[in-house]
């Protein structure tokens, strides 16, 4: 095992040396508010963070929002693209499940109008996102996630948990826990 640990460290160090220093010299990008940053905010606001590892990446946030049908444009997400008011309104309306109130979904202004009709106005990104309510039944339940990541695996999940998935939203677990073994014929005493 010691050899394996050393090999692991060596492999990790190799990757670190290969991609670390080169990137460290890059210039910082201009500070715009990107869709990736919006995805981070929405995941927190909608109560989806427990389904992700601590400090998730933009892509991890985008994937779970996509699985819940929340996108800033009809096409989907572009992590590096700048966010505008129409995109923001679209995400909030979708998070509130009020898409049917939008007159013309292809027109960004319609999403802003729909939000206004719901009595929600906003001047800043934070203000808009704060209007989105937590998803009390996240659609992540539709995704029985399988993973090999030791930081994410959930080994517990009794069959009772499986059938209560739709109610308890314990969605990431899917493997049955060991069922109680039947008592043997012999008993103590």
């Amino acid at each position: 095992m010691t050899k394996r640990i050393l090999m692991g460290f060596m492999a990790f160090s190799f990757v670190a040396l290969a991609i670390g220093p080169a990137a460290a010299q890059e210039e910082e990008p201009a500070p715009i508010f990107t869709q990736g940053q919006l995805a981070q905010l929405l995941v927190k606001q909608l109560g989806l963070a427990p389904f992700l590892p601590p400090l998730p990446t933009d892509q991890e946030c985008i994937a779970i929002l996509l699985a819940n049908g929340i996108t800033p444009t009809a096409e989907g997400w572009s992590a590096g693209a700048e966010v505008n008011r129409g995109m923001l309104a679209r995400c909030v309306v979708q998070a509130l499940k009020q898409e049917d109130t939008v007159q013309d979904p292809s027109n960004p202004q319609s999403w802003i109008d729909a939000l206004a009709e719901l009595g929600i106005s906003f001047d800043t990104v934070g203000q808009a996102v704060s209007q989105a309510q937590p998803k009390d039944q996240p659609l992540t339940r539709e995704v029985y996630r399988t993973t090999s990541d030791p930081l994410l695996k959930r080994d517990i999940s009794t069959s009772d948990t499986i059938v209560t998935l739709f109610f308890a939203q314990q969605v990431i677990a899917q493997m049955p826990a060991p069922t109680p073994q039947p008592r043997p014929d012999v008993t103590p005493n």
Binding site: G36, G69, P134, R145, P150, Q170
Partner: protein, 416 residues
Amino acid sequence: MNKVTLGFVAAAVCGLSVSSVSAAEGGNRAFNASLSVGAAYDDNYNNSSTNKLDSIEAYVSLDLSADFNMENTFLSLRYRPRYSQWMDRDDDSNDLHHNFDVVYNHTFSSKLSLGINDSLMYQELPELRQDGSLIRESNDYFYNTLSGTLAYNLSSRVRTDVSGRHVMLRYEDNDGMADRENYDIVVGSASLRRQFSPEMSVAGYFSYEDINYQGKGKTTIPIRLPGNRVEQVETVIPDRGAQTLQYGAGLEQTFSPNLVGSLRGGMTAKQFDAANADEETSPYGEVSLTFLPSPATRLSVGASRSFSKSDVITYVNSDRTSFSGGIGHDLTGRISLGLNASYSLNEYDAKQTVDTVEVAEMQDGEETIITLGATASYRFNRRNWMDFNYTRSDLSSDLRDEYKRNRFGVNWRTRL
């Protein structure tokens, strides 16, 4: 930890939640609450193949959450109790479950961040008796996962994470279940991620995991040893402890605005504490894709293969291959449909068994677990929904009791 502690935690969470209501001003909702009431028919609530018991469960559940979003700190608390009443279930006809989730993020600077997630689950699964005979032992349990990550941005495109995790399972009964199954898992991990573009990142991973069973070596009531061709009854809990090393690389890619995928793979080496094999190595891997074919439809698929903790007491390891998929579709603005499925194959090797049995007497074994779920939701208005659900779970095993279970439910939920 016991129920009293749990009650204190619940009271603390509720207290924080209530105080956040008064803190919330100008429509900024720091506090949210919802209520669900429903009923479900379960055709095999005791997970049996030979003595199925069916029942109807009526339940009520609350979902209380409080979010605190400050300049550099985010704290989210969520508490979900669920009370259910079963018809015609002997002895104990009601269950009370609790779930707590805590998410804490803090940004120290533009380069350094800390994230902590904790999820505590208490499930009450009472002893079941039918006509005077024991169907299932009492096995209420606590399950807690605590994860933390410290992330440092070497540059705008390179991030390194140091992570830790503790997983704890504690059955409450003293009738053998706790001795056999209670465990602690400790994980340490490091990763380095390079963002090549907003749409693509590559990462290298290294992790070490230690699993330790609390009851190893204890004398217990006689237990059967599944997989042993020779009928053998053991009174000492065998040790399934192991240390697992994993290293590899991963890719996250946004192929198009409506298609996101991730790929991860590498090598695993697992060393056992007291087994007939010293060490096993194997590649591991997983892939997942999330796709939005239309604004009203979302599709997710995934597959993984890796070593896994053994669910059978005689084996120290299982080789798990899983596939999963889910599709959600908004039929109209008010009606949503969901369908999901998963398939898992657990393979048990006779050589990877505890050292209290002879390899020659052991058999290889397989288990398949299939879960299916379908749901239809109707939204009456902004605050009220009705859900219709169906779930099926199917365990087929060479080594332990098999079962099939179906459940049909209807549920009304409302925001308070």
